[in-house]
Symmetry: none
Subunit: 237 residues, 2 copies
DNA sequence: GTGCAGGATGAAAAAATCATGAAAAGGAGT
DNA sequence: ACTCCTTTTCATGATTTTTTCATCCTGCAC
């Protein structure tokens, strides 16, 4: 990397979009609608779909979701609502949006008191759905990830252990918060290089390994898991 | 491999194309076109061809297809469309692409409302066809496969049993998700070798058997069925 | 039952991948 | 130029994975 002159104003900002790649569950019995929603949201998030309540419950029991979009009119009655308490108990940080053809105040109140976070009247604009989803996900996204003796403040991007700030160098910082922004996701070294280096192709050695090694040395626990042959993943230990 | 020092950056990308080995039916009355398409797609998929509608219907009644490429101009009229409802009834998860010389909006709408999933204007680029095929096949492929005590997330490529992630080594991972990408399809050891090895010809022992054995040891159920003399298949148990 | 073929599996050997200390290279401040 | 810190490179030893091989099982024909 050769920048021939010093240019202090343009601090290289690490441009990581922390609000993407959430995991969303859509429960909707109409096939067309389901595909349409999935298609639309898939550009930003990981989308699972379920066509029935039982299917949805099964998924909720095995995966952690950031948001649930629930069709109120499942199998005619208000069956859909029943999943909400169950979900909230299993996953208190999952945002719930109810979509329904009935738009009355009564309905809205019923939905919200069942535990939903928002209520959307059909037909709705896709952009509005996206906006509300993002807002709710933001609300629920924890600012702080805590594990024994290590506290990660995702908003301020700081690390704290035993009351002391842990200082990372810039590369260490970028790499760490890149991984931490999406717990459990496996990032290949190439993914990481693309995320935190301007010219990933110029990498010719095991730099990333070394950076990881140095991060680990500075932390009281090791939240970075190695997946041999595949890459690294942040693990909430 | 003689590398004087460790240079890990280019993780050998397990470039498994999970959308391979699908079964595709082409109904097209022009011989040249038919052969050309078959040739082009056969590198990735199993391709059946039919030169007429009746022939096509016959095939649809005896085989399960992942996709149908339909020439709209069969025997002059819009005869082609008639097969779509029949197919969708028999095989709701089969993707349908219509190819036509007429490219107007009217035509496109007519095609889609007849039940097609996509509409391609002739002449089209082969790569575009391949892309759209892949996209449609992906849409119809479920993201999550659940069986008692084992949940497979095809999107994030993770395995989950009793709330715990199951970690597979790279080869185990590649092999498992290759099989799981197409439930019930029997893959020969050669198919598997071609999919997950860079140099399949160098295989001289029962490596694949061993990998399968090791995968099975890690799972709480056995979703991999052995077909004596034929190969292995992923089974949704 | 016996024999056979194809498959499963434990264990050892071979190979690939990773962690890390140390040194070199790069940059900013003084 | 010197110092302090960060970043990258490289060699090495450690660990895990992958492959091989020998042996054991299992279903099936006889």
């Amino acid at each position: 990397m050769k920048r021939s002159f010093f240019h202090p104003l343009k601090e290289k900002k690490s441009k990581i979009n922390y609000n993407m790649c959430m995991r969303i569950l859509i429960i909707e019995d109409d096939l067309k609608m389901r595909l349409m929603l999935k298609d639309a949201l898939e550009a930003f998030h990981t989308v699972d779909v379920a066509s029935s309540l039982t299917e949805g419950i099964e998924l909720v029991e095995s995966y952690t979701y950031d948001a649930l979009l629930l069709d109120r009119n499942l199998s005619g009655a208000d069956e859909g609502m029943k999943i909400i308490p169950k979900l909230k108990k299993l996953q208190p940080t999952c945002a719930v949006i109810i979509a329904s053809a009935y738009g009355g105040v009564e309905e809205r109140i019923a939905g919200l008191s069942a535990g939903a976070d928002d209520y959307l009247e059909k037909p709705y604009d896709l952009r509005e759905l996206k906006m509300r989803l993002d807002a709710l996900i933001r609300r629920y996204t924890p600012d702080v990830i805590s594990m024994e003796s290590l506290h990660i403040d995702m908003k301020n991007e700081t690390l704290n252990a035993h009351g002391e700030l842990i200082l990372l160098s810039k590369k260490e910082h970028d790499l760490f918060f890149f991984l931490a922004s999406k717990p459990d996701k496996v990032f290949s070294r190439e993914d990481i290089a693309n995320a935190i280096y301007e010219d990933p192709s110029s990498m010719t050695s095991n730099t990333i390994d070394v950076v990881i090694s140095n991060i680990r040395k500075k932390l009281p626990v090791n939240p970075i898991e190695t997946l041999k042959g595949r890459g690294y993943a942040f693990k909430n230990v």
